[in-house]
């Protein structure tokens, strides 16, 4: 997280520290279910034994002192295509099923899923253990408040990049953008899979999953997030069937 702040303890209790070849994030959406970006799991070729997940602390150094939660299975969205070249992040969503249910407390709590067909307006909070503005990975969880960017505006930004660079993935309707036009505040490498949350009344719900972006925190470039509301049916179905 670039330009953000250190997250106070218990402020993002759904935050999961994920290790799968590299650093990443995930969020708790049920007592046996975690949600992350599909591309996080691609690093280890979707081998669940190579994935480790930790919850309940804002410090990575503390998190890794405990053993990883045991994983029962990985469930990558069937629409996610092989993305080794990072040229297609469509359907960048995956679920991780745990062997045992988590007991929730002030340190560990699920984040709510969005209502169906929710329009994204305003700002959201996104947290992560990824790169900071010092290009260092964070030991302490960091967060940032970002506005959702209009889809057309973001589309234009991406298309401009795609004209200049051949390896930029397209923006699809399953994604949304968040960030500041002047840059400086953004999510970055190591934040992938973490939740972009918005708040209704007293409740935080996960609007997006940190997915990708061109560079980090650059003016005119925005972070791209998987639009979770598009996947409610798949999430429900996957949970029901497993």
């Amino acid at each position: 997280v670039l330009g953000g702040k250190t997250a106070p303890a218990n402020s993002f209790p759904w935050q999961v520290f994920l290790r799968s070849g590299g650093r990443g994030g995930a969020s708790i959406i049920g007592d046996r279910w975690l949600m992350t970006a599909a591309h996080n799991l691609e690093h280890v070729k979707f081998a669940q034994e190579k994935v480790q997940v930790y919850v309940g602390n804002i410090h990575v150094s503390e998190l890794v002192k405990s053993p990883s939660l045991a994983i029962a299975s990985l469930h990558v969205h069937p629409g996610y295509k092989n993305n080794n070249l990072r040229t297609n992040f469509d359907n960048d969503i995956a679920l991780i099923k745990l062997n045992s249910p988590i007991t929730f407390n002030m340190n560990v709590m699920p984040v709510c899923l969005p209502e169906r067909d929710t329009e994204l307006n305003g700002t959201g909070l996104v947290s992560g253990f990824g790169l900071t503005e010092d290009s260092l990975t964070a030991d302490t969880l960091r967060y940032i408040r970002l506005p959702v960017v209009e889809q057309d505006k973001c589309h234009r930004s991406i298309e401009t990049e795609r004209k200049n660079r051949h390896d930029v993935a397209p923006l699809t309707g399953n994604m949304f953008c968040a960030g500041l036009p002047e840059g400086g505040k953004d999510t970055c490498s190591g934040d992938s899979g973490s939740a972009f949350v918005m708040k209704d009344d007293e409740t935080y719900w996960v609007a997006g999953i940190v997915s990708w972006g061109v560079d980090c925190g650059q003016p005119g470039k925005y972070g791209i997030y998987t639009r979770v509301a598009k996947y409610l049916n798949w999430i429900q179905k996957t949970m029901d069937e497993n």
Binding site: P8, D31, M106, M109, V111, K199, E202, T203, Y204
Partner: protein, 430 residues
Amino acid sequence: EDVLYGQVQSPLYPDPYPGDNHTQWDLKVPPGYKIQLTFNYFDIEPSADCYYDSLMVLYGRKVLGKFCGQRSTDAHHPGNKPILSPGNHLQLVFVTDDSNPGPQMHLGFSAFYQAVDVDECSSPVPSEDSDPPCSQICLNTLGSYMCACNHGYQLQADGRTCVLDCGGGVYKESEGTLSSPGYPNISPRGLDCVYNISVQPGFEVTLNFTHNFHIEQIYNKGHFCLFHWLLVTVPGKKPMKYCGKKSPGVIHTGSHNVQLEYHTDSAGQSRGWSLHYTTQRVECKLEKSISNGRVTPDFPQYFYRDYIHVRCDQGYKLMMGGKEIKSFKSMCQHNGKWHLPLPECKILDCGDPNPLLNGGVRFLSGSNNEYQSVIQYHCNEPFYAFRTTHSVKFTCAADRRWRANDNNAIIPLCYPVCGRPTVDLSKRDR
């Protein structure tokens, strides 16, 4: 061998009998018969007192006749009249001396004998005692006789004596009437009448003597009812002896077996007694009441063969011998005891409430998880919550399940509360 008839002839008959002869015949027919001896020829040297030759007919040592002569007109000639023996045997002794006077030869005798039935009823056997063969009715039969009794009397084991029929015996009916012989007239003397009332176990006999009661009452040296009495015997109890003019009235024997013995001696006078007996079923007492339950049917008294059921009030269970039983039924036995002891009704319990994952339970009222205890489930807030309510109360129901107010026994789940961290950045972060 006993034969029914035969012939006896003098030696050498029909030739003249030899001299100096002594011949004896012992005739015998079956018992109950006499012997009738008939001479069809008789010619024995006549002499005074049949001194020389003779035929002597004997019954034991008794001489029935000593015969001789040729013609029926002779003094000692047996004639044509048959000789009848008193009993079933007869002895003939033929004796001749060694000389016969003159040329005339005597041929001797030829006789036929046959068994003749004895009428024992009209002619008692002389050797027996002087009593008649039957005390009441005598019936002669061929070779024997039978005794019979008049109505109201019974032939005794000796086959000849008749005694008054007391009307005794065993009375098995559930009720009936008994009275002494001849009642209300004077009782016969020398009575020893036994009456047994024996109904099936489980019933008790009650005797109800009529007011008109009269048994000779004589005291002597501290003893009473000396010569006439009525003895009532109940097994396991001291026998009760009654006499006098006062009726014993009603006697609850408490037994299904009662014996009455009525005795009169050869003197005195009693008019006797009469009673009507009834039977009642044995009572089984309920020694204790059932707390928190009831006995059905609800009768003031319970008797032999009555069944009772015990049912517990709602919320209680049947216990017997420390074990729970599904139902209880007991029958009043013939000995006045229930075949099973009464059970207890113990308050039931629902057991420990099922734990609630990510929640808890606490008791609001009651104890030991007993019937109507109230518990309350709650979720571990703020991280878990019920979907629709804050907490759920359950009550221990009669079916031993913890049930909510809507009778539902299913404990709702505690659902995770999502998206509400205890630290909310939005409230302070600008």
